[in-house]
């Protein structure tokens, strides 16, 4: 087991931590949304990596192959991407309204104004 054999999963962990760090540490609300996006993308990569069967071909019914990769994770991830887009859209819509209401999208300034 060297690092290269599970290269995808290392990328998943690294992306996940980058996304998580942005969500926690960044002060800008839009950057927080970007952090959420990176976080979710790492999960998408995880699912898609899981679907791969070694030596399997694309899951299309032809004579050329008998071993197929699992298509189900891809389908699930299409749904998860839609959910992710909805979350991003809603988050950005709320940020626009936060900007009109508070005049800023910096976390600490909003918290000052609330108090």
């Amino acid at each position: 087991m060297d690092i290269l054999s599970s290269f995808n999963y290392w990328i998943v962990i690294i992306l996940m931590m980058i996304g998580f760090y942005i969500i926690i540490a960044n002060n800008n609300l839009i950057k927080k949304i970007i952090g959420i996006n990176i976080f979710q993308t790492s999960i998408f990569i995880m699912f898609i990596s899981m679907g791969k069967v070694i030596d399997g071909t694309a899951p299309i019914l032809t004579d050329s192959g008998t071993l197929y990769s699992s298509p189900l994770p891809h389908v699930l991830i299409l749904t998860a991407i839609v959910v992710g887009i909805s979350t991003t859209a809603l988050g950005l819509a709320i940020i626009i309204r936060i900007h009109t209401a508070f005049g800023t999208i910096e976390d600490d300034k909003i918290q000052q104004k609330i108090k």
Binding site: L29, F39, I43, M50, V83, S86, T87, L90, I94, I98
Partner: protein, 493 residues
């Protein structure tokens, strides 16, 4: 036959009704549609309840694709128990919602409010009824996204920030749930919950299964606002429109606790869940923390809605406590408390909705002496308040009684002390409201901004909630027997 299609209709009906609100673009029509849909939905859940009593379990293959390949709707006693709670609350809350919504949400957004409300109902019902793990994730996100939207509809601008924070927390929680479902799929190759539990029972106990378990519990803990992952809840309940806090307080957290119960008892089986890394001890510590922290913070609040929000965190602790005892009695106590607390807390929040409608404020100080001007509101608040303290002859007493019995049976004397102590704290925080409203002199210059009379329908639904609180305290066969049957089935599965 229509009766065989009921499980699908339960979810599809509010889903189809939601866009109708946008198409008709009329606030009265939207409200009528909301009341109508929730009534029919409640009727469907009653019919399902009857079917389950006769047949024990119902499975419904969505689109004719048979499980484990297709999406399956799985209905047993626990499912109908939760469906009845959510639908019952939806009917009563939407009945009293009209005037308060017109008061607290700007008039050009009211039809959008009902759209999101119906979608939220769809999501919650879907979470309860589905038997497919990935479908569960999708419904969780439907419920959550619509609740972020309705929280942000309030006139108070702080609700926007509360909604955004809830969105960030909620999305992290949902992502954790998604990771967990992915890992379970890798191990078992299936997404059907019934199939998953069989495969897991035969599978070797690897690190992947444990990791999936941990991810799922943390994700659900964020969504259900289990202490110490409750940070989004107080703000979201305080600044959102009152009707929204009312509905969310009664349903969302309970539904996610239900998912936790399903996951621990039906999917993993409690042998795995609890005899692993002493998970039950951890849960008991978390539950005690929630009970003490929530009650303590509730005492110090001036805003009534914030007070009730912290009280909710404490009550969620009770539910977790029951689950963590791993006995039939404990699980039953937890289920009874889910049922009773849903109606108690909605009763309290609905009384606050009426107070805000009449006086435009929920600050305890500014409500001094108001019991004279609106006696009915405060009497109904008092009844639900006594219930949350756990005074005999109210439903709160019944669930605390069973919880104490379960703790004693499991041999945890300390927990009884904590439950009683937390009830004393509840006397203090409910007592503060009662003291201000009944015994303090009427504040002279309190800006009684809009002293409007309580709308009749709001009064009616508030009255029904108070009646249920007393009724369930005297005649317990309705939910207690059911809870014991469910607990028996879950433990001996």
């Amino acid at each position: 036959m229509i009766s065989s299609q009921l499980p699908a209709l339960q979810v599809v009906l509010p889903l189809v009704a939601a866009p109708l609100c946008i198409l008709f673009h009329n606030r009265t029509f939207s409200w009528l549609l909301m009341v109508f849909v929730s009534l029919v939905s409640f009727g469907i859940s009653c019919a399902l309840f009857n079917q389950v009593l006769a047949e024990n379990t119902i499975t419904y293959a969505m689109g004719g694709w048979v499980a484990p390949w297709g999406i399956e709707y799985y209905i047993d006693k626990l499912t109908t128990y939760m469906l009845l709670i959510v639908n019952g609350i939806a009917v009563l809350v939407s009945l009293g919602a009209r005037e308060s919504v017109e008061n607290e949400i700007s008039s050009d957004r009211i039809y959008l409010f009902y759209t999101a409300f119906l979608l939220n109902l769809t999501g919650l019902l879907g979470v309860i009824i589905t038997g497919d793990a990935f479908n569960l994730f999708v419904f969780i996100e439907i419920a959550s996204l619509s609740s972020y939207a309705i929280i942000s509809l309030g006139k108070d601008k702080r609700c926007l920030y509360a909604a955004f924070r809830y969105l960030v927390y909620g999305t992290i929680g949902a992502s954790f749930i998604l990771i967990s479902i992915g890992l379970l799929y890798v191990v078992t190759g299936t997404l059907n919950i019934a199939d998953l539990s069989q495969q897991l029972a035969n599978a070797e106990n690897t690190a992947t299964i444990t990791t999936a378990f941990v991810f799922f519990v943390i994700g659900i803990a964020i969504k259900a606002a289990i202490f110490p992952m409750h940070l989004w809840l107080p703000d979201a309940y305080t600044y959102s429109p009152s009707i929204v806090s009312t509905f969310l307080a009664g349903t969302t957290t309970k539904v996610f606790i239900y998912v936790l119960i399903r996951f621990i008892y039906s999917l993993y089986g409690y042998e795995f869940s609890f005899f692993h890394e002493s998970f039950d001890n951890l849960l008991i510590i978390i539950a005690c923390g929630a009970i003490l922290y929530g009650s303590y913070r509730a005492i110090k609040q001036d805003s009534l809605k914030r007070l009730l929000a912290y009280s909710s965190i404490a009550q969620i602790g009770y539910m977790i406590l029951g689950i963590a005892l791993i006995t039939e009695l404990g699980l039953a106590a937890s289920l009874i408390h889910i049922f009773n607390h849903a109606f108690i807390k909605v009763g309290l929040f609905l009384a606050v909705t009426a107070i805000i409608y009449s006086y435009g404020t929920d600050s305890i100080e500014r409500l001094a002496g108001m019991a004279k001007t609106s006696p009915f509101t405060f009497i109904l608040f008092l009844i639900s308040g006594l219930s949350i303290i756990g005074v005999p002859l109210t439903s709160g007493f019944i669930s605390k009684w069973y919880l104490i019995k379960a703790s004693l049976e499991a041999g945890y004397w300390g927990l009884v002390v904590i439950i009683v102590f937390s009830s004393v704290l509840a006397i203090i925080y409910i007592g503060r409201v009662i003291e201000a409203a009944y015994f303090k002199p009427e504040a002279t210059n309190t800006a009684v901004l809009n002293n409007k009379k309580m709308p009749h329908l709001l009064f009616l639904s508030l009255f029904i909630f108070s009646f249920i609180n007393i009724y369930l305290g005297i005649e317990t066969s309705l939910n207690v027997d059911m809870a014991f049957q469910i607990a028996h089935e879950l433990i001996n599965k």
